[in-house]
Symmetry: C2
């Protein structure tokens, strides 16, 4: 077919998908093209604006390397990531809610013993985490694998520190027979998402702050349960209602309790104030 105009081109693009071997791919591409074209028609996109978009997407791709995923950051800041998470993990009340994965998880973090300090050599206020992992049916879950990761007090993950060559502030723990895992870390701080790339430019142009409320990332995997990827946010944080990536759930806010200097939960005596976080995760059994 020739002589396509702005009215009939969409049907022709979609028609050409008719021989796609994978019906799911065909469905996704047809919907994507219809919405992409509808967007361009709705705003009557000009060629100059189209080219600005091309340049923006090109910059987003170029910004990506093995330590920086600007495409995910773009998806996060446009709310797409949290939308996809939400529609794939509809939780019954009482089950811990899923939030965005974020771009800073690494595979291969060290497996540490119960109570280990994941913040060795990192400045910050000490924080002792004790968490209970249970099934929605009420039983403790022993032997679950728990990935934790977080940013430092400058708001940077280890991979964002050019001078850091080891993993810091991330580790893997296992729940004990009673369903508990414990660790020492530093109290999370709120921080801006990386703003030195095209997503940062976009947020400035949209007059949006780039901050995420303070949080500890957790990924909990146990046989027979839906993998839980979530955050434990810090109650009272100024950005709980305006998270740059739309990830906050009330059920994912933890009470980080401040203590004066003294004996910490692990029996050591601290000369500085410290925090404790007692938290419960509830996992959804697989059908």
């Amino acid at each position: 077919m020739r002589n396509l105009n702005e009215h009939n081109i969409t049907d022709e693009v979609v028609r050409r998908f008719e021989n796609t071997a994978n019906p799911r791919l065909q469905e996704i591409m047809a919907s994507l093209v219809r919405h992409l074209h509808a967007f361009a028609r709705e705003v009557n996109l000009t060629e100059e604006e189209w080219f600005q978009g091309i340049q923006f997407v090109t910059r987003v791709g170029h910004m990506c390397d093995d330590k920086r995923q600007e495409c995910i950051l773009l998806s996060d800041t446009l709310g797409l990531s949290q939308l996809v998470v939400a529609q794939n993990h509809k939780r019954p009340s009482g089950v811990t809610e899923q939030t965005v994965f974020g771009p800073f998880h690494l595979n291969g973090a060290p497996h540490l013993a119960p109570g280990a300090d994941i913040a060795e050599g990192v400045q910050g206020e000490p924080c002792f985490v004790s968490a209970y992992v249970q099934s929605a049916t009420g039983q403790p879950i022993a032997g679950a694998t728990v990935d934790v990761w977080q940013a430092d007090t400058d708001g940077l993950y280890d991979v964002q520190h050019p001078e850091w060559h080891d993993m810091k502030l991330r580790a893997v723990f296992e729940t004990d027979q009673q369903g508990y895992f414990r660790l020492r870390t530093i109290k999370p701080c709120n921080y801006p998402i990386p703003t030195d790339g095209p997503v940062g430019d976009m947020m400035r142009a949209l007059d949006q702050h780039p901050y995420r409320p303070a949080h500890l990332h957790c990924m909990i995997q146990a046989e027979g349960y839906d993998r839980l990827i979530t955050h434990v946010f810090v109650e009272g944080d100024a950005y709980l209602d305006s998270d740059a990536v739309f990830g906050v759930r009330s059920s994912c806010i933890g009470n980080y309790v401040r203590h004066e200097p003294g004996v910490a939960p692990d029996g050591t005596r601290l000369e500085v104030p410290f925090y404790t976080l007692d938290y419960e995760f509830v996992l959804q059994p697989l059908p």
Copy 2:
């Protein structure tokens, strides 16, 4: 606002654009987010599919350099480029229609004298182009700047030949007092768009051929007229009805006439068959 779910997140993302200084940017971003989210909801996009999309866009960005623009190729093959062209250049009947620009135009092509050969040292069937540029109101347009560019018989533009360091098969001419420009080249061949990148993978997955019907690209600029970016396609080409980038207009098909060896239009005697193309371009006066 917290506790966003797949139903209310879109309104919250759009609401956060409310302080955008540029109202046009705000309009575009709001429409983009609404359509992007509607797509993800409509197909109930899974996290795995979302991540495949992230990886695909990342690859598209990585494939771009100063000689390759995979983002434009993606826009072209999804029909977005031609849609944007069409809605920005609604032509009255009789005016030459606008088609996609494509990713292979270069600024700074050599300005050549009337009748010059843009295919010196390039294999192919000789082709003599004589074109008349006129206004929609009937007057010849003298002094118009005419960029022409095309692929060789292997379907490659000069920038795609790693061993070619000079511009070939592209040049800038000027129309004479009677509105004509003339040049020698080789007859264009149909060719596949570059398929060694993610867009090629996409087209294979969609069972689509990557061919464009043979064409000569032309960009004609004259003071007081809408800049014309178009192609002159070759009548009879097998891909006129299935152009991989949706660019064919009936009014943009030229009659490339074959001649037996003999005296060419420029007076030289050729020992091989050659082609002539006589063509008319009609430019739209600016309002």
